[in-house]
Symmetry: C2
């Protein structure tokens, strides 16, 4: 099974309004409520692809119960730990006229060190319980120490489970130093980590900081991978128009499933790029369009580059 | 006891952000969650003033349960009816730097005609169960017919219970025709109803449409009352600076409690204006500052006007 960890799960609300005007009052014309947090998004894609998937992290309060109610309808296993504090909400306000989105993210519950200790034990148990790979995804909730991902990476490595890290800022910096198998930064995360906006240089720099492989998102232009086996660039057949929400999470699902399937890097990257593009094309934010995925997969171009990783 | 009706209750969320920027992502620095909907706000003020208060209307779903959990901590009686659809949320996004607020209101659950019938029976029972006055407050949820308030006003009049209506648009227009004892429009509601922005003319016009008395809010300048006993204007000692959220609901609580106490109009108006001003001054949106209220009450000026009501 594939395990995904979401320490700061969320109840994601999408509000449609004709146009958001600061300091005015708006009637929301449509409300969509979904389980959220990057690791849950990754798990939803993995489950839709048919992989046995387990989600863990924290959920609490009334919002946590609603979240778990939504998860109960999906083909995945809920191994979330109950926190005393309530699960946060995120609100995406979409302007109906243009599709532009304004995002409001609650901070999440303040977790105690006792809750964190209980979680690490639970997580170690899940790793030992037949995990083929684990993804650590998203921001840290308040109260969790900044080296939390580094701690979870060391536990995965000790258990012999390949570990992917997808986060940003200081948790990413600390996490990389704990030598994860793979990190998947986007351009902003990479620039914040390395100080460089030149993707080739920044990706190689990120790898030198400790990650075995780095797959950087180049946005609509695809992905760049620096790995022990070489450097590849993967691109979709054309830039996709649509909603990029969740495209990065779908890419993580592609990379993780490719790893578990033992695919060589070019095929893993093709899968990640096709899933990501099929998510941008989907009319529902964060879902991928399966027929678009199947159509795109053979049309992704993967080019090996001569440079040193 | 005093009964307040909130057909479209809400879980009110207040999000603090440094400044709301359309199409950007925001970390919410503070989340406040409160029971909402105008009738619940009125009830909270009445309960704080020591009146025996009962709230009814609809609540449903996970948000409805959270709402009722909040009500359980207040000195009032929860006589809400459970709806199949979930209670809506409202989100007030407050810019920390300026205090400016952007409001996002979910529409609320679509209620069925069976739910409406069950409610009217329940409401009639509460009227018969010793209600001294009833306030009908706020917008109608989807699925409720536009004459709903007119129907509730006729039931109150049949039961001999004085009834106050505080709503807007077509529900106000239809409600007034059913001859409520009191309506409390603000300037916009009055203009929408009568076509006039001249408060004296518009207030008299509203009264001719069927309400026994009309108390119009003049914003920071106080209130104007056209009643069977005469016409009065009431003003606070100075324009108050602060957050006007809930000021109108506090005014309703003042008018309703003054009616139940059998106060003459000038004293009812003084109470309404002082409570409203003390709500603007409160640091917590929708709460009133009790010492400010007590200090303001004797300083409200009420002037009788010679014109015909």
């Amino acid at each position: 099974m594939i395990l995904t960890v979401t320490l700061n799960t969320a109840l994601d609300l999408t509000y449609r309004v004709p146009a958001l005007t600061p300091h005015a009052s708006h009637r929301v014309t449509q409300v969509i409520e979904r389980p959220g947090g990057k690791g849950l998004n990754v798990a939803r894609v993995l489950a839709a692809l048919g992989y046995e998937t387990v989600v863990t992290g924290f959920a609490g309060g009334a919002t946590g119960e609603v979240l778990r109610g939504h998860l109960a309808g999906l083909p995945l296993t809920d191994a979330l730990v109950t926190s005393a504090g309530p699960t946060r909400r995120t609100v995406a306000v979409v302007d109906t006229s243009t599709g532009d989105t304004t995002q409001l993210n609650e901070p999440g519950p303040a977790l105690t060190s006792a809750e964190w200790s209980a979680f690490t034990g639970h997580y170690a148990g899940l790793l030992a319980d037949g995990a083929d790979a684990v993804a650590l995804c998203g921001s840290l909730p308040p109260g969790i120490h900044v080296g939390a991902y580094a701690e979870l990476i060391r536990l995965a490595r000790a258990a012999g489970v390949p570990v992917l890290l997808d986060t940003s800022g200081e948790p990413l910096r600390r996490g990389i130093a704990a030598r994860p198998d793979l990190v998947k930064p986007n351009a902003d995360e990479l620039a914040q980590l390395t100080g460089s906006r030149e993707p080739h240089r920044a990706t190689r720099d990120a790898r030198r900081r400790g990650a075995h492989a780095v797959v950087s998102s180049l946005g609509p232009e695809g992905m760049l991978a620096a790995t022990p086996d070489g450097v590849w660039q993967a691109a979709p057949p054309a830039a996709m128009k649509g909603n990029p929400t969740g495209a990065g999470d779908s890419a993580v699902a592609g990379l993780l499933s490719g790893l578990v399937d033992g695919l060589p890097w070019p095929q893993r990257l093709a899968r990640a790029v096709a899933l990501s593009a099929a998510t941008v094309l989907s009319p529902v934010a964060g879902e991928f369009d399966r027929s678009a995925y199947e159509g795109l997969l053979p049309r992704v171009t993967v080019t090996e580059r001569a440079e040193a990783a």
